[in-house]
Structure formats: structure tokens, C-alpha cells
Symmetry: C2
Subunit: 273 residues, 2 copies
């Protein structure tokens, strides 16, 4: 009961923070928020996989996690990424015999993929402006969290058949179906709301088609994070959000839905104006 | 003696192939060539690190190595890269308990970084056209190979002080200086030649400044490859080019100079027209 209450209060806190970031979406606040989430996420996964024992790699990965959201879409982005990759090889040569290639590979992977995924929120705003960009970001968050919440309740009341017993034993097929349904409904509701509020034309047929796809992508992100946690024998990536766990426990699905929404927005735009 | 001759003949063969690719630079031949070099390179490093024992990862990495040069700069590029990264996580979840995250990380790293680096030759052509693009590609190859050759001869006759005794015991500081000098001279000569042949204006001062930097980057690429080979106890990455070794033994420096030249071409263009 207390755990439930704690989780609820944390959720309110998270939503409040996201609300403030959303209100100032047009400012550098978004970049700073993404920077913090990226750095925390990278640190969490390095701690879970034991990589954080290496100071040099941790420092390098955290630098990447902070630089990438700061440079965003600017002309500095590609040179910075080159410099970051280059630095890992510099370290590999300099610490030869004391640093394994696999540790470099893991740090480089986490230290670039996580910030690049989160930075898609910045790319969305910078490509489409705060209004349409905000709409797309909201879709990515909904795909992650409405699916999750829908699946939790549908699974609790209807769940019978296990979805992925080895990786995530609590998930059921009935829950997944419920999650997809709730997510699709929520996303269509957001689409209608966007049309009414801002007068932009949203392609509702496309939205209805991609909503379930994004929902499945979000659930799969959750499964991927579970597989990593299980392999390294950790229950949660952290405890910065009491009741939820770490940043990665809450944002694991978002890591997969944000880039997917960004690609949809550039290749098959939902907003017709 | 026979080894020297073999090496010389292979060099001629490689130059002939590059000549043909250069002549048809404006066609898909470049993409196909980069596809082959990427696939071979990815396979070689996976074999050297023992990863090629995993059929699934090898298949996935080779797919990436072939898809990335094919899509090049087209609208398909980012969705394809997303799909490739996504596929690794699909495999990780599907083969849970039988596939380690570190193996996935290594395969994903090699299977994207190597083709993306090589694909910079395609990006150079698609951004600047065959003429200026060809000039930039030639600079990247020169930075890699003129440095290497210059360092070999300068080191042989003047070499006294070791450069990196642990990682690559044969390299000397005198050799490195000679390599940088030869590379800088060659690149300036290419710049003058380009001006005379095509009438384009090349910023010679900038060229003289970046030539030694690119030369050092190329040598560092060589050192990085040596560090990886030593860690895994292999002498060469392969033997497809008798006397030189594998594709990666010959193109290791190019992997570092090509992206550097691409970034220079987009941020500080050498050709003023």
C-alpha cells in the first residue's frame, strides 16, 4: 500500500517535471533535461553491467551522454560524434594491456546509443518546431507509458497466457493486447485533441495504423531492458524514482519509441499542413 | 625478396581496382566496392575477435555492412540503421540466456562503425559530385598510405627512437616524422594537380595545415588496429591481399581518415568555387 502510494507520488512528480519541460519546450531546458536523463541512464547501465568500475570509460561515456544532447542538430553534431568515437580508440591504444576492447565496445555503445535515442526529442522539436514537435514527443511517451499501464491492468484482470516467461515472467499476452488497445485509443485521442487545439490537420488513418506498431515497439523496449537486467542479475537500474526504479526502468521503452517517432515524422509525417 | 615482389604485385592489383572504381566513381560501382570492403572488413574483425563463431551475430553484422553502403545518403539510411540496431535487441531477447550482451555490443559496433566509416567515400561523392568528391577521397587515401609508406622508408634509414614499443614495436618517431612530411608533400601536390586539371580553386593554406593532422590520424588508425590484433593474438586480419594481409590491414588508417576528410569537406571545405 505504501509502495503504491510512493509510486503514485513519484509519478505525479515526474509528470510535473515533464509538464514544465513541455511548457518551455522551445528553450534550452529540453536540451538540459535530455542531458540529465542521458547521463543518468548511461551511468545506470554502466553500473548494472559492472563497467562503472572503470573510471576512464565512465568519464568518456558520460561526456558523450552530455555532449550529444547539447550539440543537438547543430553543425557540431557530427564532428563531436567523430571525436567521441576517436577518444575511445585513443584510450584503447593508450591503456593497451590494461583495457579490453569489449569494455570499450560496451561503453561506446551505451554512451552513444542512449543519448542519441533521447536526443530524438530535441531533433523532433528542432525539425518541426515546439508545437508539432511537442505533439510527436507526446506520442512517443504515450506509446511507451499508455502501453505499459494498459498492459498492467489488462494483465492483472484478464492475464492467463505468459508472453515471455524467461525474460519477463509477469507479462501476459492478454496484458499486451490490452496495452496495445489502450495505447491506440490514447494516441487517437491526442490526435483529435491536437486538431482541436492547434487547428493542424492530423492524418488519423495513419495514426490509427502506427499507434499499435509503436505500442509493440515500446513493449519490446521494456523486454530488452529486462533481458539486460536479468543477464546481469539486477532487479532495477536504479532508485532515483522511488516505486519506479532508475531512469532506465521508466524510460526503457521511450528509448525505442522516440527514434521510431522521429523517423515517422521525417518520412511519413502525421501532420498535414 | 619473393615476399617483397608479392607485396608489389598486390599493390599494383589494388591500385588497378581503385583506378577502375575511380573512373566510374559516378556510378553504383563505388557503392558495390564499399559494400565488399565493408563486408570483408567486418568479417575479418569478427573472425579475429572470435565473434564469427556466432552465426546469428555474423549474419546480422554482415547485413548491416552491406545495407549501409547500399542505402548511402538516401532517405532509407536512418530507418535502416534504426532497423539494424533494433534487430540486435530482437536477437538479444529471442536468444536470452544463450547470447551475451557484450557479444551483441561488439557485433553492433563493428557492424555499424566500419561500414559507416567506409561509406563516407559515398557521402563525399554524393555531397560534392564525382570530381570534388574524388579529390577528397584521394586525400583520405593519401593521408593513410603516403604516411605509411613514408614512415616505412624514413624509419628504415633514420629510425632510432621507438614510437609505441608495446603496441607496435617496429614504429619509430623518425619514421612518423618522415611519414607526415611525405604525406603533406603528396597532398599539396594533389591539390596543385587538381587546380591545374579541373580549374577549381583549392585553399592551399588550409590543405597545408590539415595534411599533417590527417597524416597523424591515419597513423593512429594503424596503431588502433595493431592494438586490437595484439589483444586477440592475431598477426593479420586476413590474407586476401598477399603481402599486405586482410582488407583491414590495408584499410585500417582509411577507416579513420575518410570520416575526418568528410567532416572537413562539410565544415571547412578545401575547394572554393
Amino acid at each position: 500500500m505504501i509502495a503504491m502510494l510512493l509510486r503514485f507520488v513519484t509519478t505525479l512528480g515526474l509528470l510535473a517535471v515533464l509538464g514544465v519541460v513541455g511548457f518551455f519546450l522551445d528553450t534550452m531546458l529540453l536540451n538540459v533535461f535530455i542531458l540529465l536523463v542521458s547521463a543518468l541512464g548511461v551511468f545506470e547501465v554502466m553500473r548494472a553491467t559492472g563497467l562503472s568500475a572503470r573510471r576512464d570509460l565512465t568519464l568518456l561515456a558520460l561526456t558523450g551522454a552530455m555532449v550529444i544532447p547539447l550539440v543537438g542538430f547543430s553543425a557540431l553534431a557530427t564532428p563531436m560524434i567523430y571525436l567521441i568515437v576517436f577518444s575511445y580508440f585513443l584510450l584503447l591504444v593508450k591503456k593497451y594491456g590494461k583495457l579490453r576492447l569489449i569494455d570499450c565496445a560496451m561503453a561506446l555503445l551505451f554512451g552513444t546509443v542512449i543519448p542519441l535515442s533521447f536526443a530524438c526529442a530535441i531533433f523532433l522539436r528542432d525539425t518541426h518546431g515546439a508545437q508539432a514537435g511537442g505533439f510527436y514527443i507526446l506520442l512517443a511517451l504515450t506509446a511507451a507509458w499508455a502501453s505499459d499501464t494498459g498492459a498492467y491492468f489488462a494483465g492483472r484482470f484478464l492475464g492467463k497466457h505468459k508472453l515471455a516467461p524467461v525474460v519477463s515472467p509477469k507479462k501476459t499476452i492478454e496484458g499486451a493486447v490490452g496495452g496495445v488497445a489502450v495505447c491506440t485509443g490514447m494516441m487517437i485521442w491526442i490526435g483529435v485533441g491536437y486538431q482541436n487545439m492547434f487547428g493542424g490537420q492530423v492524418n488519423m488513418i495513419e495514426l490509427a495504423i502506427i499507434a499499435p506498431i509503436l505500442s509493440v515497439i515500446g513493449m519490446f523496449g521494456d523486454l530488452s531492458a529486462s533481458a539486460i537486467k536479468r543477464e546481469y542479475g539486477v532487479k532495477d537500474f536504479g532508485n532515483i524514482m522511488p516505486g519506479h526504479g532508475g531512469v532506465l526502468d521508466r524510460f526503457d521503452s521511450v528509448l525505442f519509441t522516440l527514434p521510431a517517432v522521429y523517423l515517422i515524422s521525417t518520412h511519413l509525417p502525421l501532420i498535414v499542413t
